[in-house]
């Protein structure tokens, strides 16, 4: 190409710079008029050399002298060849779509920004953000940028295609040929660098080895580049393959595989633990094994562990029984075909299984039965009690040398004597009366207890307790003597002194106990109209007996709501007895009872049944007394360590209360006598009823017969040995062990158990519980 081929276009007219718009018009006019070689003397006009599509496919040569402006060659097309004879300004080859541009000097910022085709050869260095946002359209060759010197900062940001070659001419080995932070966001294309690309975005790009093909390509094009930029002399120096590196974009896959952070495990080991010491932050204070534990853990790592709590609690029925008879144990015996043992066992708790459990007791055991929780009928214990009538007394333990005295042969005293004897002690019972049995024998109506049953059981007591001394006169002196002679004394003298009323005519009334014992002896004649003052259970007994003896108009009066309950009250009501309350007695006359309001309740017999008080005169001043009753602690100890007191001398109560107190006190004395801790006689805690699962039982069923009763007993706190726990355990951790000596046990394999508590949730009897595991 010769000088003459070029049309000169000045960028100034009359010393005035032509605006970019006008220069653009001139250039286009020249092209349209057939000119293909233009030399433009630029004065910073914008975008010279771009958009020359009017020339069709003809090559167009643009030579720029002077100050080429911003965006020279922008939107350039493939027919355009631009040669800039000096340095280039910003955004050289911007959005280049095919133009070839040669710069004989440096180019400033933004070279090839957004270019997709074409080639730019820079014979110097370039400014910041060269080769950014470049693309490669597969229909065309990729764009190329060749730089003789170095690139400025942020080179190749968001580069998506194209090839850049930066030769690093004139740089020192320590210089960064690609400037600061190159290739951020690079997703495509290739960058050849002769020198260091240190600090490039390793998140986006990677350095790869030049292949032979790469090297061949580079070498061939290098000579063209150096020719065009007028430095062929550098070819030999640039042809050292080892001086070149190639950078390419990482694929999304590679980016995902190589996170830009170092591994935390490595950091912990190499930096954290190294500075702090083995075990890290608190390795000097506590060892925490590395790694995590599973959420569902076994063995020592369980938060809760199941415990088979057989024998740890008593059932509600046993707890409610004043005598403490383990009712549920008896049903277990029935279920395991030990009916005889179940019946006989009653005698180790009470000398009156038939009389009291079978007839007289209001059965608090049944009242407290867990089955009530779901409105189910409790298991009937009366049959078990009655069956005890004919059982022979148990064998006492080995004889001791201790002598015990019991004062009073009522139910409490006999119970105490019975149990002391069973423990092997020598017992003497003293009573002022002519018969044993106390109120059971003397005042309880025959309608409530068959005479034969009572006599059989009293006879059995006499067989076991041989030394019962009746008709004794016991005064203070005699009591003092007994106290000296015996190791321990139990006062069970009962309450025999009737309470009375401070009203006129009281002498016309009789007291309930006198009436009842007369009635029992067939000596009472109450007449037709009877008024009973005091509407408790004793009053009801009086009513029933009076009715038996011919009374037909029976009224029980009380100052408060009648305390009578149960069988006694039902029987009285059956006799037509009428309860009136609150009414207050003014006086008793021959006509009957005159009330405070003046009404007369006509009566042939008036009976006072407002309770009895103990007669404590014989105790002298030995014992502490409060409100007419002997003071005792919960072990029935009086203020005298040798003397215990039970039954109505302590507080009014049921027959079964007295029997229970007799038993407990006998055990306390036995503990003391044998030097053991009396805390041992305290009953175990009662099982929580919510632990018992009643869903296993048919709610409509009322058990009839011993076997059926035994089946329906919920066996609270007492393992039925059903094996449901073994079946329900999701981990198969529970197994049954047959004990050599005594029964069986269910156990848990801690290495299998996950502590889910299913055993507890399913256990019919409430044996399993979940306990917090031992702290680690």
């Amino acid at each position: 190409m010769t000088q003459n081929d070029f049309i000169y276009i000045p960028g100034k007219r009359e010393e005035k710079r032509i605006p970019s718009r006008v220069l653009e018009e001139i250039v286009h006019q020249q092209i349209r008029s057939g000119q293909r070689n233009l030399e433009i003397e630029a004065f910073g006009q914008h975008g010279i050399g771009g958009r020359l599509w009017d020339a069709g496919t003809d090559p167009v040569n643009i030579r720029i002298i002077g100050h080429s402006g911003q965006r020279a060659g922008s939107l350039g097309t493939a027919n355009t060849f631009i040669e800039i004879m000096g340095p280039a300004s910003d955004d050289l080859g911007w959005l280049n779509a095919g133009a070839q541009i040669v710069v004989h000097g440096h180019a400033s910022n933004g070279v090839m920004n957004g270019a997709a085709q074409g080639r730019v050869f820079v014979g110097g260095s370039i400014g910041a953000r060269g080769m950014t946002m470049t693309k490669h359209n597969p229909r065309f060759d990729p764009p190329e940028l060749w730089v003789l010197g170095t690139a400025g900062d942020y080179f190749g940001e968001f580069m998506a295609g194209g090839i850049a070659v930066v030769c690093g001419y004139g740089s020192q080995p320590e210089d960064r040929v690609l400037g600061y932070r190159p290739l951020v966001g690079m997703v495509g294309g290739r960058v050849f660098v002769r020198g260091s690309a240190a600090g490039f975005s390793e998140k986006d790009a990677k350095q790869v080895a030049l292949s032979d093909d790469d090297w061949q390509w580079l070498k061939t094009r290098l000579s063209t580049f150096l020719e065009k930029t007028g430095r062929p002399d550098l070819l030999a120096a640039f042809s050292m393959r080892a001086d070149w590196i190639l950078l390419t974009a990482k694929s999304p896959h590679e980016k995902a595989d190589s996170p830009d952070r170092s591994d935390m495990r490595y950091f912990r080991k190499q930096i954290w633990d190294r500075e702090l010491g083995p075990g890290g932050l608190i390795g000097d204070l506590q060892e925490i094994p590395p790694g995590t534990i599973p959420v569902i853990a076994k063995g020592d790592l369980r938060r809760y562990v199941p415990v088979w709590e057989q024998g740890k609690y008593i059932s509600p029925c046993q707890a409610a029984c004043p005598t403490g008879i383990p009712v549920q144990d008896r049903w277990t015996m029935v279920r395991t075909d030990n009916v005889d043992e179940a019946i006989a066992m009653g005698l180790s708790h009470t000398p009156f299984p038939a009389t009291v459990c079978g007839y007289l007791c209001p059965s608090p055991c049944m009242a407290s039965c867990t089955r009530h929780q779901q409105g189910m009928v409790p298991v009937n214990v009366r049959d078990l009690g009655r069956a005890g009538e004919t059982v022979p007394p148990p064998q006492p333990e080995q004889k001791t040398d201790r002598k015990m005295a019991v004062i009073g042969a009522g139910p409490g005293g006999l119970s105490a004597a019975w149990h002391l004897t069973l423990k092997g002690h020598t017992v003497t019972v003293f009573d002022t009366g002519a018969a044993i049995g106390g109120k059971i024998s003397s005042v309880i109506p025959g309608s409530r207890i068959p005479r034969k049953t009572l006599e059989t059981e009293l006879k059995r007591i006499r067989e076991l307790v041989s030394d019962i001394r009746l008709n004794q006169q016991i005064d203070a002196k005699e009591f003092a003597r007994i106290r000296e002679e015996y190791d321990f004394i139990i006062v069970a003298a009962g309450a025999r002194k009737p309470k009375t009323l401070p009203v006129p005519g009281i002498e016309k009334a009789c007291f309930a106990n006198d009436f009842l014992s007369d009635a029992k002896a067939g000596k009472a004649e109450p007449g037709r109209q009877v008024v009973i003052i005091g509407a408790g259970n004793v009053g009801c007994d009086v009513a029933t007996e009076a009715h038996r003896l011919g009374a037909r108009d029976i009224t029980l009066i009380d100052v408060q709501k009648p305390a009578a309950f149960g069988r006694e009250r039902e029987d009285a009501e059956k006799c037509g007895a009428v309860f009136q309350w609150p009414v207050f007695t003014r006086e008793i006359t021959d006509q009957g009872v005159v009330l405070q309001n003046g009404d007369l309740l006509p009566a042939e017999t008036v009976v006072v049944a407002i309770g009895d008080m103990p007669d404590l005169d014989f105790l002298g001043t030995f014992l502490g007394v409060e409100n007419g009753f002997v003071t005792v602690d919960r072990f029935n100890r009086t203020t005298d360590p040798k003397v215990f007191a039970i039954g109505d001398v302590v507080a009014p109560g049921l027959i079964t209360d007295a029997i229970g107190a007799g038993k407990r006190t006998a055990l306390v004395i036995d503990q003391i006598a044998s030097g053991k801790d009396i805390q041992g006689v305290l009953p175990l805690p009662v099982v929580d009823k919510s632990r018992i699962h009643l869903a296993y039982y048919d709610p409509g069923k009322i058990a009839d017969g011993m076997a059926a009763c035994a089946d329906e007993c919920a066996s609270c706190g007492n393992c039925r040995d059903c094996g449901i726990c073994v079946a329900i355990c999701p981990e198969g951790a529970i197994f049954r062990v047959e004990m050599k000596k005594d029964g069986f046990e269910y156990r848990v394999d801690p290495e299998k158990c996950i502590g889910c508590g299913f055993c507890k949730g399913a256990c019919p009897c409430g044996i399993w519980d979940m306990m917090p595991n031992t702290p680690v």
């Binding site: 569902i296 809760y304 996950i754």
Partner: protein, 544 residues
């Protein structure tokens, strides 16, 4: 439930409970995982009776009425065992048979959770969903006005200053006269606020510290974490990592003897000392570490007997006025490190906080003021304190900042905001809003527990049992059976994730403001809100 039960006052049905366990017997495989994992034993295996009736209208046909039983999972209704909604059951259930559901009606729990006369105490949060911070928008987005920056491409220096910055004139004077110049730290504006070793499990605490250290040493982010009041493990005190730690002193003074013993052996000064006077979650109520969590390790670090509850009184015992508290405490703490370490108080947001601030501005040794708003979290507090006491952080920080402007000291004493930042997950937006309202940085606690360790607490009173040490994720438990569920490494990894992503989001917010090298502290012209009254109160734009 017993059909025959008596109705004592606190007899509740599942309908009265805040969380109801929804259970499908059809899907259940009775594997026991749910009952094994339940932290509060709210569910148990139960035996159920099922009546089967077979009838016929034919005369004399066999009419059958029988009971079968079946097993299933049942929710307990005792107040003490009420489901807390943590959904650990759902997490472990292999068959998707069980999940807790928030009572869609109104539960009655609040009326009964005071058995034995003890008002409810819990850990966690205020359980109020709303957040004024979430409603603040960044309405100044530079298109061609400011140099618009690209958060993904430009480099940012997201840093803030912790320490007393002297006025240029004063600074020059002291330089010339070789006078004392207050220590200032350049730190990352997102700080992990004070959660004690004790309130948090050892694995959680170590994980947080490890993450913070990683951010500093591997990522070049100067993130700081406050110890909370519970001392500091001796090893950390003697390591170079101490410089990433803000030591807290509070009214219980737990663990400070260990710190004093360690001072001569410290390789580095701590970042700063925070004097805690109040906590946003329970202003006026002291700290409390319940006995459940005071095991041998915690006892050793705090210097107390094991197994006792540790209250920090609501006030410092020997300080009777602002002047005295501030002067005495700041001076003592400054002296301990030869006036090389910034010392600042942390108070709960309150209508009286301006008085504290004014006092601090007159005290050369005061390095800043941290204010904790009502939405802050706590390891243990009375519900009444948590739910009904406290001051929102936004207006409090704003008032304080505007007051600093009034006295011309807005660039001299930094304010740090805490309490409910990111409570609904919008961490960067909330933090940026507070910064533009005037905070130099923000402190977070609950957010870290949720993001870094999977805390399941929510604003609808879910879980919240941090106080009793049964955290099902092992975050706030001192029981190895629970805290070993958590690996410090995993926590550290998540801390890094959280900070790195926060950093990107913060840049996304500040880049359009043209800020890349200094935080837009107090740049409230960038803020708008669609509530007129709130806009007035905060002195920002009302935008609709």
């Amino acid at each position: 439930m017993s059909s025959n039960r008596s109705l004592e006052p606190s007899a509740l049905s599942t309908n009265d409970l805040p969380w109801q366990v929804k259970y499908s017997n059809d899907r259940c495989t009775l594997c026991g995982q749910c009952t094994a994992v339940c932290p509060v034993k709210a569910i148990e295996l139960a035996v159920f009776r099922k009546r089967r009736i077979k009838t016929s209208i034919q005369p004399r046909a066999d009419q059958v009425s029988q009971y079968d039983i079946f097993y299933g999972i049942q929710q307990k209704t005792d107040v003490a065992y009420a489901c807390i909604g943590c959904a650990m059951c759902t997490l472990v259930c292999p068959n998707d048979a069980i999940h807790p559901q928030k009572n869609p009606g109104l539960d009655r729990m609040k009326f009964h959770i005071n058995q034995q006369g003890v008002p409810r105490r819990r850990g966690g949060r205020r359980n109020a969903e709303g957040s004024i911070l979430d409603r603040i928008k960044f309405t100044r987005i530079s298109m061609l006005t400011d140099p618009a920056l690209d958060a993904g491409r430009h480099e940012f220096e997201m840093r803030t200053l912790l320490g007393r910055v002297l006025s240029p004139r004063e600074n020059m004077k002291r330089l010339r006269e070789k006078g004392w110049i207050p220590p200032v730290r350049e730190i990352y504006p997102l700080i992990i606020g004070g959660m004690s070793f004790g309130a948090l499990s050892p694995t959680m605490w170590e994980g947080l510290q490890m993450g913070v250290t990683y951010l500093n040493e591997e990522m070049g982010m100067p993130v700081r974490m406050c110890t909370g009041e519970g001392g500091c493990p001796p090893r950390l005190l003697r390591s170079r990592f101490l410089k990433y730690v803000i030591l807290q002193i509070a009214s219980g003074y737990f663990g400070w003897d260990e710190i004093i013993h360690a001072i001569p052996h410290m390789k580095e000064d701590p970042c700063a000392i925070e004097i805690k006077y109040g906590q946003g979650a329970k202003p006026g109520d002291g700290g409390l570490l319940m006995w459940h969590k005071v095991n041998k390790l915690i006892a050793a670090i705090r210097g107390v007997p094991a197994g006792v509850s540790l209250p920090s009184p609501p006030t410092h015992q020997t300080q009777y006025s602002i002047e005295e508290s501030v002067a005495k405490m700041i001076l003592s703490m400054s002296m301990a490190w030869g006036f090389r370490v910034p010392v600042y108080p942390k108070i709960s947001a309150s209508s009286t906080s301006l008085a504290v601030l004014n006092n601090l501005t007159r005290n050369d040794y005061a390095s800043g003021l941290a204010i904790d708003g009502e939405d802050g979290g706590t390891g243990a507090a009375y519900t009444v304190s948590m739910d009904h006491m406290g001051h929102p952080i936004a207006s409090c920080i704003r008032d304080n900042y505007l007051n600093l402007i009034k006295i011309g000291k807005q660039n001299e004493i930094p304010l740090f905001a805490g309490g409910g930042i990111g409570k609904n997950g919008n961490l960067a937006a909330n933090a940026a809003a507070l910064i533009m309202l005037g905070a130099s940085g923000v402190q977070i606690g609950k957010y870290v527990m949720q993001a870094a360790a999977g805390c399941v607490g929510t604003e609808e009173d879910r879980c919240n049992v941090c106080n009793v040490g049964i955290c099902p994720k092992g975050i706030t438990s001192q029981d190895p059976r629970l805290y070993r569920r958590l690996d410090p490494e995993d926590v550290a990894r998540r801390v890094v994730d959280l900070f790195v992503s926060f950093d990107t989001e913060l840049k996304k917010i500040v880049a359009p403001l043209g800020r890349s090298t200094s935080l837009p502290i107090g740049m409230s012209d960038a803020l708008g809100i669609d509530d007129f009254s709130a806009a007035q109160r905060l002195s920002i734009k009302y935008v609709v």
